[in-house]
């Protein structure tokens, strides 16, 4: 009774039943001497190498292209000037008068410094998953849940990590102390008013708003790590043009040494690439280098939420693998994911690793010990990404 042998080629097997296929490669049967690996040839704890290219967009103030495997994301940072007069619910803060010592105290408390960024929305990230970056993204649909979730995560991480110092986004104006000799009464009156307000010192007149736009060119799993690396690389690459406030026009104008003609910052900022050499720019200070590291848990049993009886019977065969930097096919098979954001940059690498964020959801495999151990994996990933950034 010779049954016809059913044998499929590898791609067909992978397509038909992805879960057993991945399971078989991770846990090879005894006769085969193949080493345990994932279907993409990586070891379970092996991440894809990161490639980062900065300043590739000529019309943004800072940009970065990040590629890990087949996940490619491009990030552009653009600064726009927001005069305080245009901010609804603007609350002048005590920091304006004592801009040096007052600020430091506020930052230590973690109150006002962060409040500015949050209250006036000075950081505006947006993520777009381009049509065709992965098969599930169709044209002409509203932003998917994935895109919305990703931008919320990037948004809250930008604030909680305090990578951008609000001080570097403030635009100051110092009223001239010398007044012309033909001062008429009207001007005198204005001077009087200003003196009453106590506005002799530098005034905070505007803020830079950073629009951080991310576009996924292709998506092959692990979008958050790539997106966050792109945001960090682009922010580190950002150079804001030096501007000064023109009180007559109530606008910021470029501090341009070579050409005396002033342009409004917004107009000039539209073409930062044009005459780049002549425009004075200051690099945006970025504090620390948080790096995201994601892993997914691949359970031996298909469809994670097993019933009581099954879980009791099959505790022995209930193995799991932690797959670092999962690709798209692995993501569809894994329910539980963990993302840890670490920063080892403080203290010259010798200091204690600071964890900036942990997001673990969708399962119960990762307990306390595994999460603790995952910090070491994240540290290793941090070094890889840091090397790629330099």
């Amino acid at each position: 009774m010779a049954a016809p042998s059913l044998s499929f080629s590898r791609p067909v097997f992978a397509k038909l039943s992805p879960h057993p296929y991945l399971l078989r490669t991770l846990a090879p049967q005894p006769p085969s001497d193949a080493a345990a690996s994932r279907t993409n040839g990586r070891a379970p704890q092996e991440a894809r190498p990161v490639h980062i290219h900065t300043s590739s967009l000529s019309h943004a103030h800072g940009s970065a292209l990040v590629r890990t495997g087949d996940t490619t994301v491009i990030c552009g940072v653009r600064g726009e000037v927001l005069p305080v007069a245009n901010i609804p619910q603007y609350r002048p803060q005590a920091t304006q008068q004592q801009q040096d010592d007052g600020d430091e105290r506020a930052d230590e408390r973690g109150g006002l410094g962060r409040g500015e960024l949050k209250d006036y929305d000075l950081l505006v990230p947006n993520i777009e998953l381009a049509t065709g970056c992965a098969p599930q993204f169709l044209p002409g649909v509203p932003p998917t849940t994935l895109a919305q979730t990703l931008s919320t995560r990037v948004y809250s991480l930008l604030h909680s990590c305090r990578v951008v110092d609000p001080k570097s986004l403030r635009i100051w104006y110092t009223p001239p102390t010398e007044v012309g000799n033909n001062m008429d009464t009207e001007e005198q009156q204005r001077q009087q008013e200003e003196a009453d307000d106590g506005d002799d010192g530098p005034q905070l007149v505007a803020y830079w708003v950073l629009y951080i736009d991310l576009l996924f060119v292709s998506l092959d799993g692990n979008p958050f790590d790539a997106a966050w690396a792109a945001v960090m690389a682009a922010l580190r690459d950002t150079k804001l043009p030096a501007v000064r406030w023109d009180p007559d026009r109530q606008a910021a104008v470029l501090q341009n040494n070579s050409q005396p003609t002033t342009t409004t910052a917004t107009a000039a900022a539209a073409v930062p690439g044009q005459g780049k050499n002549s425009i004075k720019t200051t690099p945006l200070p970025v504090a620390g280098l948080p790096v995201a590291c994601t892993a997914a848990v691949f359970p031996e049993k298909k469809h994670g939420g097993e019933s009581m009886a099954a879980s009791a019977a099959a505790t022995v065969g209930n193995r799991h693998w932690i797959l670092l930097d999962p690709d798209r096919s692995e993501e569809t098979l894994c329910g539980e994911t963990i993302t840890m954001v670490v920063d080892c940059s403080s203290g010259g690498g010798g200091g204690e690793t600071r964890i900036k964020s942990i997001e673990k959801q969708g399962g119960v495999v990762l307990g306390r010990e595994l999460i603790r151990g995952f910090a070491g994996v994240a540290e290793k990933r941090w070094k890889e990404v840091r090397d790629a950034m330099q």
Binding site: Q148, T152, R153, G335, E359, R368
Partner: protein, 252 residues
């Protein structure tokens, strides 16, 4: 602001199950309908689709609500025996009714990183509503939020932090445990070390998974004096359901 959690089961007459949960200034009403027929695009051949909708207290839901929905959904999918209901849908609607006020910050509709403190309330309300709807579950879950606040050089843990505490907190952590003491959900943000996270884990475990036996009464009393705000979530869940069952079976 309620320090002790309060809950009522089956508050909505039309839904299959519902619950109202109030804790630490948040009030959430949850309704559960299911298992019902799923739309074609949501249908899964082997398991039920869990659909979570989070509605904010004011305005329409935005990206933040989508994020909360995805967190809650991935946790509840682990609890509900989804494989018992292939091609079905279990819909959970979570309406946020009140959130604690903070006089010190600008109140904006869209807030960054204020997502976490509401997660325990949402999860707790959802679990209670699922019990009320008699949806078969593998386990129940309890959740708590812990903040690490640094004051005069010393770090201290604040359970159920107020908005003002959150503003000054170094890190904020949300942890949820199943009734088998497994870590179901861990969301943290801020600036912390592995050691600090361990301390937070201990504190959250104490709140969420305190053994219900009365033998450990003395220990419990000592713990209570240590962190006064830490309530026993598992006991609370049990007593809420017990009270409801007792009320329903009163006629017998």
């Amino acid at each position: 602001m309620t320090v002790i959690p309060e809950a009522t089961l089956s508050v909505l007459p039309r839904a299959d199950g519902s619950a109202r949960y109030a804790h630490a200034g948040y009030t959430v009403t949850a309704s559960v309908n299911g298992p019902i027929e799923a739309q074609r695009r949501d249908e899964h051949a082997f398991e039920a689709h869990v659909d979570v909708v989070v509605r904010p207290a004011a305005g329409t839901g935005g990206t933040r609500e989508r994020h909360l929905e995805s967190i809650i959904e991935s946790s509840l999918t682990q609890l509900i025996l989804v494989k018992n209901f292939p091609r079905q849908l279990i819909q959970i609607v979570l309406q946020i009714e009140t959130t604690p006020d903070n006089d010190y910050v600008n109140t904006k509709l869209v807030q960054a990183s204020l997502n976490f403190p509401i997660v325990p309330s949402l999860l707790q309300a959802a679990v209670l509503a699922l019990i009320s709807a008699a949806v078969p579950m593998r386990a129940t879950a309890t959740a708590s939020v812990v903040a690490v606040v640094s004051q005069e050089g010393t770090k201290r843990l604040v359970v159920d932090p107020s908005p003002r505490d959150l503003e000054q907190a170094q890190s904020v952590h949300v942890l949820a445990f199943t009734s088998h003491d497994e870590l179901l959900l861990a969301e943290s943000e801020g600036d912390f070390t592995v050691k600090e996270w361990d301390g937070v884990y201990e504190a959250a475990l104490k709140i969420c998974c305190r053994p219900t036996s009365t033998k450990a009464g003395i220990d419990v009393m000592l713990d209570d004096s240590e962190d006064a705000a830490g309530s026993d979530m598992r006991q609370f869940l049990r007593s809420t359901v017990e009270a409801k069952v007792a009320a329903d079976l009163y006629w017998k």
